[in-house]
Symmetry: C2
Subunit: 293 residues, 2 copies
């Protein structure tokens, strides 16, 4: 039987001082996220289902800037973005600037499943998702305003399943106090989210505008496919390019051989990993080795 | 003095029978579009200003599915998308799902000029653009519903200026009867619009979802930069990949040496070209040679 692999992230940012209680809560959420994906992958499920399940846990945790924990925009509203992509068919779905959906990642999947489209935004996206069974939540569902130790970031997952198929999913509340209607890289296929069975699956986190202009997630694929880089080399170069433009952030990636990478230019990136022997690892700071359990 | 070059398109589609009057009107609009860009380029202006001026003419013509000629969505509204990108700084701006702006391409430029963001959507994009001087138009501004001979497409321009800088701009009303909130490839940097002084500027047209999934415009860049393809080879491969996914359409591209390409998998693509000797060419059908004047 072929092997499987999953990585998740809860955003990159400057993590100099995390309260011990928050660190524990975040590691627990990352572990639960990986477990949800690993449960699907270890029983022969698809990488697409695994990344959606993993991201849903992080959206629901309220601990990261996505789903329940989404930052408020300049008008005090949450506007959330998400995307999913599957590497065999390269089918993809995404939503942007949705306000009342509990799980934007599920809405993104509904777009891929039930429409010929890739990206729906704003009220049109909400109406569609609610018609197809997405769960609506009131403004009171979202947790209190963010404290400043929480990076303006994003959650995501990438996975390889035992059928050799890659998938990626990313979800965000966007930058704090962003103007209404601002969309970052998260829901844009090739910028914040990309999966392609010829190369890799990638989910990014950081200041989205730089990742859009550098087409970062797809650029990892392109460097592997045409530039003959390894995943690690391609990921390193892609983040260097973001830095050249003035941006910062991180990414997680996995290739068709099961090689994986987590990389950030910030002092930390919340991240988790699951391996077929049932082990789960987490890490927060940039140079921190994976910590089991 | 270095040379300049400009290409424009008015959408790719099945053009089997165009009434002679429409053909004349379209060729005239394409010529005026090229002239507007050429006027800027020939006097030392920037490629970014040139592509915006060229696309504005096509938006205002009402002859193509963009600006005044935008198709109605499933709810009877126009929802328009546009993007601009400049190849030296790789700065970019875009708007999506805007309803009341006369020139989405100008709104996209305003995003690039006046915000740190790349993409604004829906009401947030309109509010921002109107605050920065964009022109608002009433529903009666848009021309009567499309006849079926008009492709569900897009307008765009790419240019090289005498300073060696590339730029691209694309604008669309999106597919006819699309659901509210559907966004295609046009405003997505790397999908429908991309410019990079290391390689090329590209503007695409076609069934946007396939161009999003194939990250088409950026893939032309990537094939040139890492795959060592010429612009023509890269463009050919990029459209073949769209076709592999099941899509159809076309693109225009120009590289830093002034080499240019127009290519489509459909039976036609409205297109125009201007060269530094003051000549202007147009063509409509796929295998039609450039026709002067």
């Amino acid at each position: 039987m072929k092997s499987w692999h999953i990585l998740v992230h809860g955003g990159a940012g400057e993590l100099r001082a995390i309260p011990a209680e928050r660190e524990r809560a975040c590691r627990t959420a990352l572990r639960h996220s990986v477990e949800a994906g690993a449960q699907i992958l270890s029983t022969g499920g698809s990488s697409l289902d695994a990344v959606i399940a993993a991201v849903k846990i992080l959206e629901d945790s309220g601990l990261f800037n996505a789903g329940r924990g989404s930052a408020r925009n300049a008008e005090g509203h949450r506007e959330m973005d998400a995307a999913v992509m599957e590497g065999a068919s390269r089918r993809a779905g995404a939503v942007a600037a949705v306000r009342s959906l509990r799980n934007p990642v599920i809405a993104a999947h509904l777009v891929a499943q039930h429409t010929p489209h890739v990206l729906l935004v704003s009220e049109g996206a909400e109406t569609f998702a609610l018609q197809h069974g997405a769960e609506r939540v009131p403004p009171s569902y979202f947790r209190p305003p963010l404290d400043d130790s929480i990076p303006d970031d994003t959650v995501g997952a990438v996975a390889l399943d035992i059928h050799g198929c890659l998938a990626a999913a990313t979800s965000t509340g966007g930058t704090t106090r962003k103007p209404a209607g601002r969309v970052g890289d998260t829901p844009l296929i090739g910028a914040g989210t990309y999966a392609d069975n010829r190369s890799c699956a990638v989910s990014t986190t950081g200041i989205g505008e730089y990742f859009i202009r550098a087409v970062t997630a797809y650029s990892v694929h392109a460097r592997m496919l045409w530039g003959r880089r390894t995943l690690a080399e391609a990921a390193q170069e892609a983040l260097e390019e973001v830095a050249t433009l003035g941006g910062a952030g991180g990414l997680i990636g996995i290739d068709t051989m099961g090689n994986s990478i987590t990389l950030c230019t910030t002092s930390g990136m919340y991240r988790g990993m699951g391996t077929p022997d049932g082990r789960i690892f987490t890490a927060l700071f940039r140079d921190e080795p994976w910590k089991e359990g």
